[in-house]
């Protein structure tokens, strides 16, 4: 692949972010024990990871590369980093690089961030972190312990010069229109720009419709079941950049509330069950590398089935309606009856209500209640066996 073939070999092979590159070099030249680690912040595909690997190579460090999944729990951090930090002489000259550090958020953090901050405050080896964004609360606490270097998108004209250089080396040509299209669609992401160019040059015109670049959960589920081919469904699935748990729940609630036959429903639920088990395993073992298989499981749900529409609620509408309205009425009734019988409302509903309903049905009991309760009592009597 061209993106691998033209991966920069030295730092001056890179394009754009000249000041940031210079700041990183300066930091490495001046680095001594205790120097604040650096955090590289910028959009994906502009060379944060590449520069970390290149400087490590250039300064003769042995890179220990981690990602967010490795730093989610304190125990995992200690397991990986303690040997490197404690036995520097045995390990050679290590340098720690933690990619996508902003990927630890909310409930996925099992003490990892605080353990990481502890290490960042007393660095014995060079530590480089990389993140796409530094605005979350977790990142704010990390930022206090590091020096932040920002990477920005690369100006499109500079990308054009870079791309034309690659095309010249490959003895290939791209029409001016395609060149602009490639630069526009890649949105400053060099890696995707090179891949896209190679696709165009080799005659493959990939689908790069903006509507699938990053879609929300509702549009995603609806478009998934309306997709004309499995390839299109797969693109949509990968474009749904949301929490995996939310993704599984969205498919579950949409399927369960749709009017599909029982055998299809069973088939769909089996697939969702597999996805759920995979996610459960990821959460239990914190092995986030398995996440890449989630979409491969969910793609089995694809069937051009327009009966399935996105639904936020995972119970059917009649049942939801009953819970919402009848539930409120029963609650109100139970609070009145509970006072009369010197019970709690929940004790009345669980223990007494069925007997009271039987008595009303058999006309052995007559309650002096407002007329508004007549409907709900009638409805509940109809439901008892």
């Amino acid at each position: 692949m061209w993106s691998e073939k033209y991966r920069p070999r030295i730092i001056s092979d890179m394009v754009g972010n000249e000041e940031s590159r210079a700041s990183i070099m300066e930091w490495f030249i001046k680095w001594k024990k205790g120097t604040k680690p650096i955090l590289l912040v910028g959009p994906p595909g502009i060379g944060k990871t590449t520069i970390a690997y290149l400087v490590a190579k250039q300064f003769g460090y042995d890179m220990i590369g981690l990602n967010a999944s490795d730093v989610r729990s304190k125990s995992r951090i200690n397991e990986i980093l303690t040997p490197a930090l404690a036995n520097v002489s045995v390990m050679g000259t290590p340098m720690i690089f933690i990619d996508e550090v902003d990927g630890i958020h909310g409930r996925s953090d099992f003490g990892g961030v605080s353990a990481l901050i502890g290490i960042l405050k007393e660095p014995t080896v060079p530590i480089v972190l990389a993140a796409n964004s530094d605005t979350s609360d977790k990142m704010k606490s990390i930022k206090k312990a590091v020096k932040t270097i920002y990477f920005k998108k690369i100006p499109p004209r500079l990308l054009q010069v870079y791309l034309e250089n690659i095309l010249k080396k490959e003895n290939a040509k791209l029409s001016p229109g395609s060149l602009i299209k490639v630069i526009d669609k890649s949105q400053g992401d060099i890696r995707s720009m090179i891949n896209l160019t190679q696709s165009f040059v080799t005659g493959f015109n990939p689908q790069i419709e903006t509507k699938f670049e990053n879609i929300n959960i509702e549009d995603g589920v609806n478009a998934f079941f309306k997709a004309n081919s499995i390839e299109e469904a797969r693109i949509i699935l990968y474009s749904m950049q949301i929490d995996p748990r939310e993704k599984i729940n969205a498919f579950y609630s949409s399927i369960i509330t749709s009017s599909i036959d029982n055998s299809t429903l069973a088939k769909y639920l089996e697939i969702i069950s597999n996805a759920d088990m995979l996610f459960g395993k990821i959460m239990k073992t914190q092995n986030w590398r398995l996440l890449r298989y989630l979409n491969d499981i969910l793609i089995k749900l694809y069937q051009n089935d327009d009966r399935i529409r996105y639904s936020q609620y995972n119970i059917s509408w009649p049942l939801l309606n009953r819970i919402r309205w009848d539930g409120a009425k029963i609650k109100s009734l139970s609070s009145i009856m509970a006072k009369k019988l010197h019970l709690s409302s929940s004790a009345f509903v669980t223990i007494c209500l069925p007997f009271v309903l039987f008595c009303i049905k058999n006309k052995t009991l007559e309650l002096e209640l407002e007329e508004t309760y007549a409907d709900i009592i009638e409805k509940e009597i109809g439901l008892i066996q």
């Binding site: 730092i11 972010n17 100006p155 500079l158 010069v161 034309e164 250089n165």
Partner: protein
């Protein structure tokens, strides 16, 4: 979002150029975003790293897709990019301007 022109009460860091803004210097501040130099706020075109002149952004064919304040601030002007070996010129100029990159 509104940027307010304020004399700096405390030292700050410009969100555009990442350089320090000294006390009493005039900065532009917006809640939740930070501060920036007055001159950084006025960036309307990028600088050509090869010849040092303005990159000619208003006439650039990429003007509609280039988010000027949020891209890396060195570009290449039409004249320099039309040279036969433009990328090599770019690399040489970068190494000259930032010799540390090539150290």
């Amino acid at each position: 979002m509104s940027w307010r022109k304020i004399p700096m009460k405390f030292p700050g860091k410009c969100i555009i150029c990442n350089k320090k803004i000294e006390i009493n210097e005039i900065g532009l501040w917006a809640k939740g975003l930070g501060v920036k130099h007055e001159k950084c706020a006025q960036i309307d075109q990028l600088q050509c790293i090869v010849c040092g002149a303005p990159a000619g952004c208003p006439q650039c064919k990429f003007i509609e897709i280039c988010d000027i304040p949020n891209v890396s601030q060195f570009c290449i002007c039409t004249k320099c990019s039309d040279e036969k070996d433009a990328f090599s010129f770019y690399q040489k100029s970068t190494n000259k301007k930032f010799p540390i990159i090539n150290s």
